[in-house]
Symmetry: C2
Subunit: 233 residues, 2 copies
């Protein structure tokens, strides 16, 4: 059983641990959406032209919509989104502080590669929550076609100047390193979230082999995304 | 008749002038929404706490929705939003460059007082366009309850430190001065927009007395907003 406090510990026993894990997932997503908004809005300011700015602004606006959806869902369960997000301030702020894009292209790669690995991870966790929460998570994580925009811009920039590819490949590796290091931190701090994946005494989860396969999937998808951008991972 | 070029001069004669004026209004609103997004997202970064940041992020997200609605409407008329916004880059950029909030409170007052006078003006112009365009304008300009948030924050800050009121009152006056000076510029440059208000040979509009009454309404509303914030205008 998990002993850490929840924002609203309405029930105890296995259900409480499960509920806490699901709330953690939503809190994670909500704070992720807020920080993504912030970053995309800042990146929009580096856009080389107004059409590019509009794209980034639209992506930022979608994050606010996502935040609102998750806040409303949490409110239905009697949970304040502010409380649910609180445990995730440090890892997200840490990630963003350590991966400030220096220019427009670094911002695009971060939106694609960094968010990509986060989204994959959320989807893996969502497999273990109830159908309603899972549907919300999948809806919030749908790409909305902006990936194509990023891919076009990054590939175009590498075509114009192949040296850019080397720099952005390094950047992509750094993004993944930071993301995994912060994910580690979340996993260590949030037993309820981790036990959604690994199971508890009362509820079976993934065994060690399955966890390792999950990480393989995350890395494979990352490699595929880097290749799509024309970058070596 | 108005001689300036339109993004899509599909018809000529009085209808063309009218159409151009309506397109100008939508282009103005679209670029206004984009720059408002930008500014609100930047102001969100100055928020003293996460709840305040969420409020500003939500306001910024709404601007992106508005932009999308206007872009779609323009597209239905075969007009590219980028072309429609082009004439308004300079006045909006000028306004924002000259009125950069130095802190969180200045940002809030700008969102309330500066946007307030702009919204009033758009509504005045919207009285002269077709019902569909007018409905879109009114929908996009609906406040969404964020005004109450700003009023609460600003009044609270003045209660905590009455000196703040003096500083923000000066700031409010500067905002209006800059807004009017940029509006003047738009009026001088965009005959079609101006003639929506003043009419043409073929279509009656406001006479000079009516234009002057309109300005009185704008100033009265501004004074009322300043008073609502607890500021002398």
């Amino acid at each position: 059983m998990d002993e850490q406090t929840t924002p609203e510990p309405a029930v105890t026993g296995p259900d409480a641990a499960y509920r806490e894990g699901a709330l953690d997932l939503l809190g994670l997503l909500a704070y992720g959406a807020l920080t993504a908004f912030d970053r995309l809005a800042e990146d929009a300011r580096m856009a080389p032209g107004l059409a590019d700015k509009v794209q980034l602004a639209t992506m930022a606006g979608r994050q606010v919509d996502h935040f609102g959806r998750i806040r409303d869902r949490l409110a239905e369960s009697g949970v304040d989104v502010m409380a649910a997000m609180q445990p995730f301030h440090e890892p997200f702020n840490g990630y963003h502080e350590h991966t400030r894009p220096k220019d427009w292209l670094e911002g695009l790669v971060k939106a694609y590669v960094g968010d990509g690995i986060a989204v994959d991870f959320y989807r893996e966790v969502a497999a273990f929550v109830d159908a309603d929460t899972r549907a919300l998570v999948h809806e919030v994580l749908a790409d909305g076609g902006h990936g194509d925009f990023v891919v076009g811009r990054v590939r175009g920039a590498i075509e114009d100047d192949p040296k850019v590819g080397g720099r952005l490949a390094l950047w992509g590796r750094r993004l993944v390193g930071e993301a995994l290091s912060q994910a580690q931190r979340v996993a260590a701090d949030r037993d309820a979230l981790t036990s959604l994946l690994t199971g508890t005494v009362d509820r079976p989860g993934l065994d060690l082999a399955a966890v390792s396969r999950m990480f393989s999937r995350l890395i494979e998808n990352h490699t595929r995304r880097m290749a799509t951008l024309g970058l070596q991972s």
